[in-house]
Structure formats: C-alpha cells, structure tokens
C-alpha cells in the first residue's frame, strides 16, 4: 500500500498517532507536502464526510478523524507556507446571535477544512455585524451561518442584509444551515446556499471556490 493510502486509511480510523507517523515517513521519503495533503489527508476526510452523510459513521468518528487530520496537517503547515502554497479560499463560520448550538457548526468546520479551505471560526452567538466585520478583515469568500433555533433563524436574514449593506454582495457568498433551516427558508431570506449536512456544505464551498 502506498504511504498516501496508509495516511488516508489511518485518518479514517481516527488514528492520530499513526497519521502523524505516516506523514513524517512520507516527508522523509521525499513526498511533496502538497501531495501528502491533497492525496493523503484530504481524500481521507472526504471518505469520512461521505460516510457521515450516509449515516455510516457518526459524530465521534468524524471528530476523531478530524483530530487525526489536524495533527497531520500541523506538520505540513510550515512546509506548505514555505513553498508558498495557499489555500483555495477562506470561510468565516459561526453560530448566529442568540444561539449556542455548535456541534453541527464544528462538523461543518472540519469538513470544510477537509477540502483544504481555511476556516475562521467565530464561535457561537455571533451578530450579523460581527460576521461581516470578520469577512472584511480576513478577506473571506464565504460566510457560513449555523442556527438550531426557530427563534434565531431570522438573524440569517440580517446577515444577508449586512453583507449587501457593506457592498460585499458580489464578493462574499452566504451559506446557511442547521437542523430547522430549509432550502425554502434560504430562498426567502436571499442567502446564496443551503445544505442539509456538513459534507455537502464542504462540497458546495469547494465548488464556489473553483
């Protein structure tokens, strides 16, 4: 088995130490850091995302896989920076004001990072203004909003308006999600994208940044 496949498989099983060991080994063997990322770590996370979407694996499996991915990516980070390899784009992500549910949002973060996209995580209880401020500051391409409460969903409409008011409509796409959110709601507030799960969120984000 090639070392890149080994990395991907260890990642899928959430074996952090093994992933770190294989990434080190690959580097020693002279595999380019970008190749390790694109052909080892990210495809591994992709498989986990698909399985999560199909209810073959659940939250703990995703969390430990993401932990393994991050440990491997940590080793590559300085090397990728040195080589001048950038990310395909940036996403500002958070749970909207008044809402403290973050388990789904964190899964979105992991999956989107699994596409090599940089995620700026604003945490929970994030106001529309704070989303837009952060998007400006980081030059983000996408704003991702999560809401789990019927009472906090309207904040998503505020985010869309704030993006327009800041003149960022053409630059920044707004993506929304969370259990009570629907495609219909997405249309009604004028957000750009909605997906029902984290793996699809990552796919759409990657699509946007192509």
């Amino acid at each position: 088995m090639s070392i890149l496949v080994e990395i991907s498989e260890a990642l899928q099983k959430g074996k952090k130490k093994l992933v770190v060991q294989y990434v080190q080994q690959a580097l020693e063997e002279g595999v380019a850091p970008q190749q390790i990322l694109n052909e080892g770590l990210l495809p591994g996370m992709d498989v986990v995302g698909q399985k999560f979407k199909n209810n073959e694996v659940f939250v703990p499996e995703v969390l430990v896989a993401a932990r393994a991915m991050n440990a491997g990516a940590e080793l590559l980070k300085p090397l990728l920076a040195e080589a001048g390899v950038g990310t395909p784009g940036k996403m500002v992500l958070g749970t909207v004001k008044g809402d403290l549910h973050d388990i789904g949002k964190n899964l979105v973060k992991m999956m989107v990072e699994g596409k090599g996209i940089e995620v700026i995580d604003l945490g929970v209880d994030v106001s529309a203004e704070a989303f837009v401020e952060a998007a400006k500051e980081h030059g983000a391409d996408i704003i991702g909003c999560s809401a789990l409460l019927t009472t906090t969903m309207p904040v998503m409409a505020e985010v869309v308006k704030a993006v327009e008011a800041a003149g960022l409509k053409d630059k920044v796409k707004v993506m929304i999600g969370g259990a009570p959110v629907t495609e219909e709601f997405c249309k009604s507030v004028g957000a750009d994208y909605y997906t029902a799960d984290a793996a699809s969120a990552a796919m759409v984000a990657a699509e946007i940044l192509k």
Binding site: V59, P60, E61, L63, V64, G98, L100, I103, T150, T151
Partner: protein, 373 residues
C-alpha cells in the same frame, strides 16, 4: 373519560375507542409566560409565579390532559447543566439557556470508580449553580436542592390532582453516558470513547446504581411514580448503534429496569433521531417507558416498532408550531391521531413549544383531539 383515565388508558396500550380519548400534552413550561402576558424572568423567579402563568395559559388555550410538573428554575436544577438566566445574564423576556462547558476532567472517571458518583457529582452540581454553591456542607446543599424540587412537584401535583390531570413525570435524571458527554464537552468526550473506552464504561458502571437510587428518592419525595430520563446524547444524531450498544444502552436499560422494579415508569426524553435505537426498548418489560419524540425521529416508523411494547408521546415539531398555520398543525395532528388509535399514544409537541409559537397553533393542537375533523 377524564384526563387521568385517558392517560391510564394510554399507558395500558389498549386501543382507543374514540379520538377524544387520546390524551394531549403540549409542553408549555416556558411558552406559558407568553400566553399569560408575563416575562421569562417572571416565571424564573419561583414556582408560584410559574404556576400562576401556567394556569393562565391553560385558561386561554385549554387544559391539557397531562401537565408539566415544574417551572423553568427547577427544570434547570434537575437537568444539571449550567444555565444563563433571563433578567440576569439575558434579557427579561429571553428563554433561559443551557450552556455546555467542559468542566469534567478525564481523571474524573477514575475518581468516580474509586470514590463513587457522588464524590464527583456533588462538587459538580454545586459549581454549575448560578451563583455557585460554596462553603461547607456542599453535599447537604445539593441534596436539599433535589428535595426542594420534589417538594415543589408535590405541591403542584395537589393542584393537578384536584382536576384529575396527571403530571408527565415527578422527578428527573440523566444516564451517566449523557451526563459525562455534556460535562466533558462533546469533543473531549468523543475522544475519550476512543482513547479510554474502558475508563468511560467503568465510570458508567460505578455511577448507574447511585443514579437509580437518587432517582427513586426524588420520585418518592414528590409522591409520584414517573421519572424523566434526559438521554440527550444517546441518539443516532450523535452515535452509532454499535456505540449505543457498548456505552449507552446497558446502563440506560439498567436504569429503566431499576425504576420499573420500584414501580416507576421511565419517561425517556428522546430529542434527535432515535429510530435505530428503538428496537432495543423491546427488551424491556412492556409499558415500562414512555418515549418522547421531538420530530427528528420518524414517528410512524417508531410507532410501528414499539406498538404494544412501549408508549410513544409526540411529536408536533417546533418549526411547525412557530412557522406553520393552524390548518397545518391540525392536519399534522390528525395524522398522528389516526396512527395512535391502536393505543399507547399521547399526542404532544416535539420537546417544548418554542417561544415564537403562534397561540392559534397551540389551540389547534389541543383542539385536534377534542374536535372531530
């Protein structure tokens, strides 16, 4: 039939003769304030203020067949989570908010195995109070809190008894698995399941008998015979059936059986998707549980699986209560009623009625069993 008789009939799992015989239970603990025209801060002040609001709400929308036993302040105590309080950390009319903070350490699993669940739980419950309990006699203060909840339920029960309306439950508890998940934090806890699974299981095993004992004491002190079990992390929204079988079910089953032996029915609060977990409940004595679904589980399939084994309560979703029309609520309820006529069914809301629910929708829900379509 009066409400008590309807409820008993539902628990017997015999078919209902008429749709009016299906008991209805809208969970309006906090929404009551909206109808009564008072704030969330008002009903958080204490049991009397809450009961006043609850009664006013019932006067407006109609009395339920099953009542919620305790006010929001007491709910937050028995659920054992850190909370932000309306009128204090939150606006006067905002819903109280549970917050999840990683307070429990990995070493606490060992502590529980060595010194017992109480050795960890007492300082934990004391520390999450707002403001935290401090000083000596912590154990006494925490216990006094639980007994106080029981006394309140007992008092409220008197009022509802006079109307022949049963309470949904008389005390509450949570399985060790779910308590650990919420007090370790989801991320840490999931890693524990991989890094030190044996420790987690040993701690669950050590904690469960104590949890059962405390639960029985709580129910008895309220003079009741039903206990709510908040198994918030044991569903397929979070874990696979493999993990459920290994870490959650053995202890949840032990709890339900322990309560059953003490003459107590378990009201298992099943937020999230429980469908893959439901067949396990067929291993239990018939009628030992009421399963409360919140709209995230396919209730028709759930009923198919558990019919004749356990009672189901549910599940008008909060989104429908908030954004739907009364006609849509009625249509949804009618489907549930048609399904539930075979018995063992309580019509209810999925978890709690959200604060932005329309009053007409709540009326439509209550009326749906009482009016022929």
């Amino acid at each position: 039939m009066n409400s008590q008789q309807k409820f008993d009939h539902a628990l017997s799992m015999q078919p209902f003769a008429k749709r009016e015989d299906i008991p209805v239970f809208p969970h309006t603990c906090t929404f009551a304030a909206v109808v009564a025209g008072v704030t969330q801060a008002d009903i958080f002040r204490g049991n009397d203020a809450w009961m006043d609001a609850y009664k006013k709400c019932c006067d407006v929308v109609g009395y339920p067949d099953v009542a919620f036993p305790l006010g929001p302040k007491t709910v937050t105590y028995i659920e054992q989570m850190k909370v932000r309080i309306p009128g204090r950390e939150l606006g006067e009319n905002e819903l109280f908010q549970f917050i999840e903070e990683p307070i429990m350490q990995e070493s606490d699993y060992d502590l529980i195995v060595e010194k017992g669940f109480g050795a960890w739980q007492t300082p934990f419950v004391a520390s999450i109070q707002n403001p935290p309990f401090k000083g000596p006699f912590l154990k006494f203060k925490v216990l006094k809190g639980f007994i106080g909840c029981g006394m309140e339920v007992k008092k409220n029960k008197k009022f509802w008894d006079s109307k022949n309306i049963p309470l949904m439950f008389h005390s509450g508890t949570a399985p060790a698995f779910d308590t650990f998940s919420m007090s370790r934090g989801m991320g840490e806890f999931c890693c524990d399941l991989y890094d030190c699974p044996e420790k987690v299981k040993a701690a669950c095993e050590a904690a469960t008998p104590e949890i059962i004992k405390t639960g029985i004491t709580g129910v008895k002190s309220a003079g009741g015979n039903r206990i709510a079990i908040f198994a918030m992390r044991s569903s397929a929204t979070f874990i696979s059936t493999d993990m459920f079988e290994e870490f959650a079910w053995p202890y949840l089953k032990q709890m339900i059986l322990g309560f059953y032996e003490a003459g107590i029915v378990s009201v298992v609060h099943c937020d999230g998707n429980w469908l893959p977990m439901l067949p396990y409940f067929k291993e239990l004595p018939k009628g030992s549980c009421i399963i409360e679904l919140d709209g995230a589980t396919d209730i028709v399939k759930a009923y198919e699986i558990l019919k004749g084994y356990q009672i189901i309560r549910g599940d008008v979703p909060p989104t429908l209560m908030a954004f739907g029309t009364p006609e849509e609520v009625t249509a949804y309820c009618n489907k549930l009623i048609d399904m539930g006529m075979e018995g063992g069914f309580i019509l209810g809301t999925g978890c709690e009625v959200p604060l932005n629910c329309k009053v007409e929708n709540l009326k439509a829900l209550i009326d749906s069993v009482r009016r022929n379509p």
